[in-house]
């Protein structure tokens, strides 16, 4: 239920606290659900000796398979195994990749900084484009400029992200040889020019997702009473747009970023595959191709938790930043 918020009060704070704790409780339930689904998926696909054989390879003899099954408790009951899986997760242990002979934690620690760079820079640039463009579109609603910008973002939105990457490679790496087609390899950044195409792809698809929301958010804001009041008080157009509308658009961005994490992770896999970018997405792809189940599951759990936390932040951020709205 939405309730009009009449001003700062203790009752408001209490409601807020109750809302946050209810959302937190809900998030914990969903995270537990995600671990259960992941665990069951794994079991549906390979369990017991099948799993041991998949991990040890086709040349493993029955002796080593038996040893593996006993060592990792694969012959225990499902609830026991799930409890063990949960216990390990609670201690920050996402599993062990028998194919790469490394812990999933260490693999992710290696990959995640690369993802932060790709997704983070892409996100920031996309927002930096989407907000001013959205406000301009809202202000000049119905003009050729507005229609043109809408058409471009609709086209980008309908494009598979990998094809956008292919087009950028074709134009900027093959035809004109301005940027390298492959992302920098290894741990160092290497040639920063090699980062341009993957980040540009990420930026464009993210912009396409955000732009329509930024436009409609700015349109909603411009229709609000306080904008009319500001204008009546003689505020200039620039002040209305920069001060009032921009602030509200920034609040909308918090929600939008939190809710767009699933899309960002999805594009991460595809963009990293296209540009051979050494991040979690590419690692997940390689794990899927090599049937490296523990690595796949570890990444799925991590991504799932990140999405739930993102949703939580979006909900709470929205409630904190928009003083008009309280949930009870």
């Amino acid at each position: 239920m939405l309730r009009r918020y009449a001003g700062p009060s203790h009752a408001g704070e209490r409601l807020m606290l109750a809302y946050v704790s209810r959302r937190l409780y809900h998030a914990i339930i969903v995270v537990l659900g995600i671990t259960l689904v992941t665990f069951l998926l794994q079991h549906a696909i390979a369990s017991g000796t099948t799993l041991a054989r998949a991990m040890l390879g086709p040349r493993a003899n029955s002796l080593s398979i038996d040893a593996f099954v006993r060592q990792y408790g694969l012959n225990q009951s499902l609830p026991d195994q799930y409890w063990k899986f949960l216990w390990q997760l609670a201690h920050g242990n996402l599993g062990y990749s028998y194919k790469l002979h490394r812990s999933v934690d260490s693999i992710l620690a290696r990959d995640l900084p690369h993802d932060l760079l790709l997704v983070g820079v892409g996100l920031v640039v996309a927002i930096a484009i989407a907000i001013p463009l959205g406000i301009t579109q809202a202000y000049r609603r119905g003009t050729l400029f507005d229609h043109g910008a809408t058409a471009v973002s609709f086209f980008l939105y309908s494009m598979p992200s990998f094809w956008l990457g292919l087009l950028l490679i074709q134009l900027l790496a093959v035809n004109w040889s301005i940027f390298p087609a492959e992302a920098p390899q290894g741990t160092s950044l290497g040639d920063p020019r090699a980062l341009v195409l993957p980040i540009a792809t990420m930026t464009l698809v993210t912009y396409a997702l955000f732009s329509r929301y930024m436009r409609s958010s700015a349109i909603d804001t411009l229709a609000c009473d306080f904008i009319r009041t500001a204008r009546a008080k003689g505020a200039s157009n620039l002040r209305v747009l920069l001060w009032h509308t921009l602030r509200n658009s920034l609040a909308a961005v918090v929600t939008l970023v939190g809710l767009s994490l699933p899309a960002l992770f999805t594009w991460g896999v595809v963009v990293e595959y296209v540009f051979n970018y050494p991040g979690t997405g590419l690692t997940f792809y390689n794990a899927a191709v090599t049937d490296d189940y523990p690595l796949e599951l570890g990444i799925i759990v991590l991504v799932g938790v990140a999405v739930v936390v993102g949703n939580l932040m979006a909900d709470i951020g929205y409630a904190v930043l928009d003083p008009r709205i309280r949930y009870d």
């Binding site: 809900h26 339930i29 969903v30 995270v31 659900g33 995600i34 259960l36 689904v37 992941t38 998926l41 549906a44 696909i45 390979a46 609709f154 086209f155 939105y157 309908s158 494009m159 598979p160 990998f162 094809w163 292919l166 087009l167 490679i169 074709q170 093959v174 087609a181 994490l261 699933p262 899309a263 992770f265 999805t266 896999v269 595809v270 595959y273 296209v274 997940f284 792809y285 899927a288 191709v289 049937d291 796949e296 990444i299 799925i300 991504v303 799932g304 999405v307 739930v308 949703n311």
Partner: protein
């Protein structure tokens, strides 16, 4: 109950039309009017019809061999013999686009139908029962929505032998979630509309309200969402095929064609990059525009325009 009787019960100053669901003209007439009035609806319809004709009627007109490889004619540039050239195995690209379109449309339409049906049943059941069962059912949806779809789909796709049926199943596993949430929300919202409350006030039974009010008013949302689901499924299938988890060769798929294109990119074979991507884009744009147009037609709240 006649209008007069309703207005007598509610008092004279209540406008009866406000309480009744908007009726409007015939559906066909409304669709025709919408298509005439809204250029984007016309574009959407045209694109969808084009993709369907191209994929299913095209092969009858433009005959190509999509079974036997022929490396002698591999990677040929577009010519009068091969309108868009050939790929690395000597398949004609236009013919390949048609074959890929068939499998894409079959899978995407089946996914949309399956996912929307399951989602609608799940969502309306949750909304009608309420209570603990509702919570459990919707938490299940939350959990599955918490894991980005492509990750589940890739995980499942590696475990099954990919064919049309398994791909429909794999993509449907994640596609029913959004319709389920949508239909539940819609059912709950419809229950509070004034004409539904009025009929409850007159003593209408639950099943009558479901048949008479909830289903007819939610069907618009369901159909609109099914249209968007087709677009989403086309994209997801393209992702899967591109990453190599789609239909195995020699079956054609747009994503698979683009994967070949990626490998041959530095040879300058642009005809292996552009056509398949354009097909995906126009299919997705077509269904998205069609969905927008259908929403304008079917959503009673948007009809005041």
């Amino acid at each position: 109950m006649t209008d007069a009787a309703v207005s007598k019960v509610l008092g004279g100053d209540v406008v009866v039309a406000d309480l009744l669901p908007p009726s409007g003209g015939g559906l066909v007439r409304r669709i025709a009017a919408e298509v005439r009035a809204d250029k984007s609806a016309l574009i959407g319809l045209t694109l969808v019809v084009f993709v369907l004709l191209f994929s299913f009627v095209g092969p009858l007109v433009y005959r190509t061999d999509q079974v036997h490889t022929n490396v002698v004619i591999a990677n040929l540039a577009p010519s009068s013999q091969h309108l868009l050239g050939t790929d690395d195995l000597g398949y004609d690209i236009v013919g390949r686009l048609m074959a890929g379109g068939q499998s894409t449309m079959e899978i995407a339409l089946a996914v949309a139908l399956l996912a929307t049906t399951v989602g609608a049943i799940w969502g309306s059941l949750a909304a009608l029962t309420g209570g603990a069962l509702d919570s459990v059912m919707m938490r299940a949806v939350d959990v599955l929505l918490g894991i980005p779809g492509l990750f589940i789909v890739i995980f499942l796709a590696t475990a099954v032998k990919p064919d049309v049926w398994t791909l429909i199943g794999v993509i449907a596993v994640i596609s029913w979630l959004v319709p389920a949430r949508l239909v539940r929300g819609e059912s709950l919202a419809i229950r509070t509309l004034s004409f539904v409350e009025a009929s409850r006030g007159f003593g209408a039974r639950k099943d009558w309200m479901l048949r008479r009010h909830i289903v007819p008013n939610a069907i618009g949302v369901i159909v609109v969402n099914a249209t968007f689901q087709v677009a989403t499924a086309v994209l997801l299938l393209a992702y899967l095929s591109f990453l190599g988890f789609g239909l195995p060769p020699p079956t054609a798929s747009w994503g698979g064609m683009l994967s070949t294109g990626l490998n041959n990119m530095f040879n300058g074979y642009w005809w292996e990059i552009y056509p398949a991507g354009i097909m995906v884009v126009i299919t997705v744009i077509g269904f998205n525009l069609l969905g927008d147009a259908l929403r304008n037609i079917l959503d009673p709240r948007l009809q005041e325009r």
